[in-house]
Subunit: 346 residues, 4 copies
């Protein structure tokens, strides 16, 4: 099978290449980077050297790509994929877009949070690429909108409760999320320099982060009614990992074992969701470099709240690893093909 | 003035010595460490070398200390100070205890969360050493209970709102706190080794952390009624710093400028509390090595919640720096004597 | 094929399990830890959860292991393997010892640097498990002494030059090496706590590190004469990675291209050694989680010295990954079976 | 006394402001940043908020500065000071230049390593601002060239040996140096982003780093003859700190105690150089935020080499702290005024 990567010069591109390097029967037929066209791939990313395919690839301009891949990953910034998707689809390729361009079902909502959408006619067709929720639709999709990292972390943590109508939705859900720096991408910004991040911790976009509508959309679909969410992202001095601490009120008493049973049942056929033993607080290092989402549950008798802790690797499960899981579903392969590695810990 | 430090072999001891090194007219007359008695101080802590006083000090056993200091810092683990306090007070010394032994007003509560209290008769006399709330009482105290790090971060963030009865107390307050590793002390534990912490992030003691009753006690005093708190500590891969993200519902509409004005007014005479400009999210690096508590406020219209962000240096403002501020109050010195340094950033 | 791990509770044990998890046709039939016997493996190492084999394993006492594995990894501290090796070999197992017990050919040298050797009769038989130098012997070995991490980094960097007699051996070779903290193992020590390592850097065992005789032994074999080495290890605030900067005088002029050609030729059939392009300084992140050794060469005209920079992942190539490479050789498998992953970067 | 800072928007500017905040009788009368002119200083650097002087300052354009300061710090990039110095000196100010512009005595050497020098007539007058070597000259200087960070680390480590002619200069001195990321300044560069530095280590400018001629100049002055140096800088994943490991051959046998005595004697009146006890390997954390240079000495009998380990805080002792020490000398103040703080450790 041939795949191509448009926008291969960022960290999601690099992570795709890392994962695909070990996926059987996979040929990466092109990698593009408008800015770095002509550069040998392994000169651009020296960690990829020694891989027979990659040693031969060069960055290309994103032009004349028709018929060169069965499935194309779009690993570009927001706003690029919506300009390219129509013509790529017409050329016969199937697309996995890692940006936000096709995640929101409503063009108006997109226009409000981002910019004027250039391909709103594709929003209805695009499938939200969270395998645990949309496995069948992904398998048949021409256009998969790969979920955001924070949304992946939060939706997986709340899906079982919301679908079973167990959450008291009269109050806002509260999600306090902390992300590693790869979440900000490979671009240059003062706030991502080593000296600003090391030995530091801060919240950012404290109100109104652009992942909010995506999360709310999916949580509301699950609940069958509008959900209100208070979401606060923070920047961790680590490369990889998101940990979300979620505060939820249930609308009925549930024992810990019943709570765990709900999740074990909901994710019974999902290879990537690990329901942690009672009392174990998930750690980001447990999922580093993997597609796992680890979940832990903590009832607090003094307040009546449940605390749900969810961890993923933001750039693997929250981006490129999930994209490969979608590739697997789209091509009828085992869902974890190329994704069976355990965490690099420590 | 002569001061002594009992339990000088931990990080709070080291931080006390760092701060006192530049405090005018201060003689550190003894440092004790039962386990390391006899060791030259600057061999034990090489970073202190070159300071004339410290070059001469040796760790001593904590014995025969009467009359050797006007004020004694107890920088020991929980459970030690309550055994030593009575006799030290009788010898005429005034005490600043950095442990939890004298923070809780109720012996029963202490017994429940820690162990059987050995000096419950002193609980009524001890003064909670948060200068912004108890300045007058600290000045006269014989026994000051230096606040915990998480409590300092949270009480300062909530005091103005609670005292003005602006908080909807029908719901639990939610405090999502993240701390650097010095908060765990200098003892050996697997969970504090470099390889377990670096490139990792986790929550710990997700329910029932022992700082909870201390925080609830002071918040309830401020509110004039019982307060319910959901508190979740996390471990950051940094040495120093606590950032707390607090989610609060008010019982009436308040504009951002009015909200800030409340805090500016409440802390008008406090040199260490910095109310940050609108929209600026406090960062732990801004307070590294200082006694500052930086506060930022973020109303969220979609949920009706306020997010309050509070940062301190857990080992300076949250322990040893605050202890020196208390020393200053107890001895009639300017409250910031020896504490005027700005953050070491980056 | 069945393998077992004695001493599976350390970081080399964890890394072995991470690598073996994806090696085809491999059954880990037992894991032992005297101290933690009885503990479910995935409770001990939660990052391993979700792997069908590992979910069923428990730590065992290291007893009655005969006939339970074809090849046994000894991932214990120095001094353990030499007590176990004879009886394990008699039971028919082949051994890969990750400790220093069988690396030195001379019992006297071992006795000098470590302690009285308990199985000196096995030293002649044991094979030094560096595939690039001893591929044939490893294939037939009953007992493989897996190289130390620093030695791996240095021997690979110098082997081609020494074997071709290009080095001026009248002066000491100088190797300035820097290692991540996993090199110190998983035991508890003050010097490995987060707060002592983070934002810090130091040399340790500045003179007389115990890897010195192992390095000197192999360099001298390569040179055909005694080699003098000045070796200085340093502790990096990272989990994984060794970078060695080596200062060498050649005994004749060599151009850069000729220098590179010598290495390219020497390692022509070795999948793990990457000779970097001229001017590229190898980085530890390029090899994280892999078996690669990256080499870069820099002639300095002003001094006449060559600087050779060598990087490996100390716990993968420098320990467990190399052990699996040896397993591959011993069982006639492709040398990189299970080891084809690229670096997890960033 | 009034001081001004030209180029206050970088990390050396921030560090100057941190140090000067606590220096008695010091008024910072202006701070300039061409690019950020108009910005309130504490908005630009929020860690400085709360300081009465700084709360009132704004970044200015570097114009019309005559008569506004007695001493002006130039904390700009290389190439700026040489354009400004003449007119500033004419206006009566005395200058401390933290860039490389006035460190080299030879305009030709400068032209070779940097660019065409614009004020070569000032090179003879400028004084190299290393207090331990040029105390008297600094006191009288109009123009002080503040030393580079690597040079500070190396010159202090070698000065006593070279002045006493104890070094075998027939071989190159070898200096393997490792620096924190603040050494690269506050500008944006891919190589300084968090994700490229965290969990990584590398050498850079392996041959021909521009600090080399400055180091060689001063070492040669000390030796009274040309010195050959092999210098290799590396990038540490820490904010602050340089550790240099130096390999030296002596031209005669010296005992360890004699070696230490030479240094103790040479630096007998220098408050910032700490000769460490035998066997103690200096750590960068011991000097964080201070003006100390810690030195340790290790003879290696097997090779005949001495290893000298030198640590400084690159941005304090290696830049802004040293600049304040020079300010002290130039104004007849105690050399450590404002610089008596001990390391912030951990």
């Amino acid at each position: 099978m041939k795949v191509g990567i448009i926008g291969a010069s960022g960290y999601t591109g690099l992570e795709l290449l890392r994962i695909l390097a070990n996926r059987p029967h996979t040929e990466v037929s092109f990698v593009t980077s408008r800015q770095d066209a002509g550069a040998p791939l392994t000169k651009f990313f020296p960690s990829l050297a020694g891989h027979p395919q990659y040693d031969r690839l060069k960055m290309e301009k994103p032009e004349d790509l028709a018929d060169r891949a069965d499935i194309i990953f779009l690993a570009t910034q927001h706003g690029v994929a919506m300009n390219l998707a129509s013509s790529l689809l017409e050329s016969g390729a199937r697309l996995i877009d890692l940006s936000a361009d096709f995640r929101l079902k409503s063009a108006e909502v997109f226009n409000h949070w981002y910019e004027e959408h250039k391909a709103p006619h594709l929003l209805a067709e695009s499938v939200y690429g969270l395998p645990e929720l949309y496995r069948q639709q992904i398998a048949r999709a021409r256009l998969v909108a790969n979920p955001g990292c924070y949304p992946t972390s939060l939706i997986l943590a709340l899906a079982p409760l919301l679908r079973l109508n167990l959450v008291d939705l009269s109050r806002p859900l509260i999600a306090d999320s902390k992300s590693g720096v790869t979440g900000a991408g490979r671009g240059l910004a003062r706030s991502n320099t080593f000296c600003e991040v090391q030995e530091n911790f801060k919240a950012y976009k404290v109100v109104g982060h652009r992942h909010t509508p995506e999360i709310v959309q999916e949580l509301s679909f699950l609940a069958g009614q509008p959900v209100t969410l208070s979401f606060t992202p923070h920047l961790l001095p680590i490369n990889r990992g998101i940990l979300s601490t979620i505060y939820v009120s249930l609308n009925q008493p549930v024992s810990v074992s019943a709570f765990r049973a709900i999740y074990l049942d909901f994710y019974a056929n999902d290879p990537y969701v690990r329901i942690r033993p009672e009392g174990y607080a998930p750690e980001t290092a447990d999922v580093r470099g993997t597609n796992f989402c680890d979940l832990g549950f903590f009832p607090e008798s003094s307040t009546g709240l449940w605390k749900i802790i969810s961890v993923i690797d933001n750039i693997c499960r929250g981006a490129s690893g999930q994209a490969v899981a979608n590739l697997n579903l789209m091509t009828g392969c085992p869902e974890d093909l190329g994704l069976t590695g355990l965490a690099l810990r420590p």
